[in-house]
Amino acid sequence: MKVITANRLLNGDVVWLGENGSWVERITLARTFDGKDQVAEGLAIGQEAEKNQEVVSVYEMDVTLEDGVIVPVRLRERIRAAGPTTHPQFGKQAQAVSA
């Protein structure tokens, strides 16, 4: 299972492709893609968004579901989804507390 990720062009924020071509700030809200064809479709949406100056650096990444929640497979992506492990007060992990 995969999700499509990128950074927002304007501020560099990490985002994932959500429903209806939106870019969401939480990986838990991302749209998941199964199989080559679906992933290619997701990447195509991403490339279109790159052309429209919404995001940069679009790529697909592996995820799994843990208790129904989307979790990145690789540590790199887990850190990217949360923020620096050395600075729990920064990144998305900080926003998650107040959410």
Binding site: G12, D13, L75, R76, I79, T85, T86, H87
Partner: protein, 552 residues
């Protein structure tokens, strides 16, 4: 220190305006990311894991209070309240917004700073000994030469698209604190038999995936030939350096594949063509640049301070600070003070905006308005009166940058690693923090003595692990962080590349492994004066290997 002339000011302003327009065009959709990326990189703007990252140049690691305050202001206004000092004496901001970067560059230009050539395949920020102009063991201040190299290499049209990046380091002292032998060009000031200043020249040093110690190409290069000879090296590299494979594109590979003698001959041939041309350095020009670096007026004083001695006996933490964080100054009565950006359990090289303000205050109040950033990610007050050390120490302690650990096991170099870096394969900072906590008591650190641990979170080796007495390289193995340990590296005048001691360790195991290495050293050293590196060089890897993996 150096002040911009009209030429410097105008090209920095032009570049800022140019980048502002490039950002505008990018946001307006006139430039694609593929077109924009090389432009932003030329201005030090990367895209990292969580955000953009802006790397600001601090030429040869020298800055003043006003500049440090500006960095604090940028951290506070445009970032998340902190910056990170790097192993190339620069500073990185981890969270700037693309839309803010033109404004940041404008603010930097106000204090004669910029981010030009902090990325890309060009000649990068020239680095120098952080005790330059102050150290007792110095032949001459290397910074005027670093500045001359900066002027020559800035926006050099011929060398803006090299096969790969190019790093130059220079030291003015025989004790090399600038790691010159692991740079593309390393320069060591020396004197000839007539007492004239010149340079020992090394070429082709470097770390990364193929670590190599630089090869000596000149025992003595006269001062007047500095630029012509550097240009000759760059021309040979630009012409013959490999462009077919990014991983074989550094000059070290060219040196290795061509052979030293042939490459030397190529350099000398090119040099002969240009040595009497426009690049020949006129004596008056060197002296003119040197005047910018004229030392502050320092009155010779007693070589010991009563105030310092009285407190030394009464305050163990202060005594520890004196023992490790002062470097002998060439003027009696003065010292160079290392401000430790390595608090126990902290993040190596990080400084908050508030800490930067304190550092600027201290420079202005006690340090003749001079600061240095070391490649070991600390901050230096180069010219401090011994009598002022207690007052400075108190301010540092209040700001939590007074750990007396310079050169000790907790004074760790670590790259940002996978907590920030898009290239990293493992985290570095948490490993540094855990080592720091494990060994962080004053007594234990002092007992272990000089021990340089350097940690990189990937094979590109920004954390200089190859030249750590103990080096740690973070890799990924089956989806897990995995750490390879090297022993016996050194970046000083007796430079060496560390050797892999055996199979690597998991994140859970690696701190215990380091402790075993340290305990093994403590058991076998001939005395307290034999450092870890000396002991390793005497006995070899066998006892360390046995401690880690058992008898073979």
């Amino acid at each position: 220190m150096y002040r911009y002339d009209e030429f410097d000011a105008s090209f920095v302003n032009q570049r800022t305006e140019q980048f502002k327009d490039q950002v505008r065009r990018r946001l307006a959709g006139e430039l694609s990311e593929d077109e924009f990326k090389p432009l932003r990189l030329m201005n030090g703007l990367y895209l990292q894991l969580h955000a953009y990252m802006l790397r600001v140049a601090i030429p040869y690691g020298t800055l003043n209070g006003r500049q440090m305050r500006k960095l604090a202001h940028i951290a506070r206004t445009y970032d998340k309240g902190y910056g990170h000092f790097t192993t190339r004496q620069n500073i990185q901001f981890n969270w700037p917004k693309l839309e803010d970067t033109p404004k940041i560059l404008e603010e930097l230009a106000e204090v004669e700073m910029h981010a030009i050539q902090t990325s890309g395949n060009c000649i990068r920020n020239v680095t120098a000994d952080h005790f330059a102009g102050a150290a007792a063991d110095e032949i001459a201040d290397p910074r005027p030469y670093a500045e001359i190299l900066r002027q020559w290499s800035s926006l050099h049209p011929e060398f803006s698209f090299l096969p790969r990046k190019f790093k130059i380091a220079i030291t003015g002292a025989p004790n090399d604190r600038a790691a010159v032998q692991v740079h593309d060009i390393g320069l060591q000031l020396t004197r000839n038999d007539d007492g004239e200043i010149g340079f020992v020249v090394y070429v082709g040093g470097g770390l990364g995936r193929t670590p190599m110690i630089g090869r000596k190409v000149r025992d003595y290069l006269p001062e007047e030939d500095l630029l012509a000879y550097s240009e000759a090296i760059l021309r040979v590299y630009n012409r013959y350096g490999r462009r077919d494979n990014k991983y074989k594109a550094r000059i070290k590979i060219l040196v290795h594949e061509t052979g030293l003698e042939e490459l030397k001959a190529d350099i000398e041939a090119e040099f002969e063509k240009i040595r009497y041309g426009v690049l020949r350095l006129p004596d008056e020009e060197v002296r003119r640049i040197e005047a910018y670096f004229a030392p502050p007026p320092l009155e010779v004083g007693p070589s010991a301070s009563e105030a310092v001695e009285a407190r030394r006996n009464a305050d163990a933490a202060f005594a520890q600070f004196l023992a490790h964080n002062l470097n002998p100054h060439r003027v009696p009565g003065y010292t160079s003070v290392t401000l430790s950006m390595k608090p126990i359990g902290g993040i190596p090289g990080d400084a908050s905006d508030a800490q930067m303000e304190v550092i600027a205050d201290l420079a202005e109040q006690y340090g003749h308005d001079e600061l240095r950033i070391s490649h070991e990610q600390n901050v230096i007050l180069p010219h401090v009166k011994l009598d002022d050390v207690p007052a400075i120490y108190d301010r540092l302690a209040a700001a939590e940058i007074a750990e007396g650990n310079a050169g000790l096991i907790t004074d760790i170099i670590a790259c940002p690693g996978m907590d920030y870096c898009a290239l990293a394969t493992a985290r570095s900072i948490p490993v540094a923090q855990r080592i720091s906590e494990r060994f962080g008591t004053a007594e234990r650190q002092a007992e272990i003595g000089e021990l340089k641990i350097k940690i990189s979170g990937c094979i590109n080796a920004c954390g200089h692990h190859h030249v750590g007495h103990i080096g740690i390289l973070g890799l990924e193995k089956k989806g897990e962080e995995f750490y390879q340990v090297t022993l016996g590296g050194s970046a000083n005048e007796n430079a060496s590349i560390g050797e892999i001691v055996g199979r690597g360790f998991s994140s859970e195991e690696v701190i215990d492994a380091i402790e075993k290495l340290v305990d093994t050293y403590l058991d076998l050293r001939s005395g307290k004066e034999e450092t870890f590196l000396d002991a390793y060089r005497r006995v070899g890897e066998a006892p360390f290997k046995e401690a880690l993996y058992g008898a073979a």
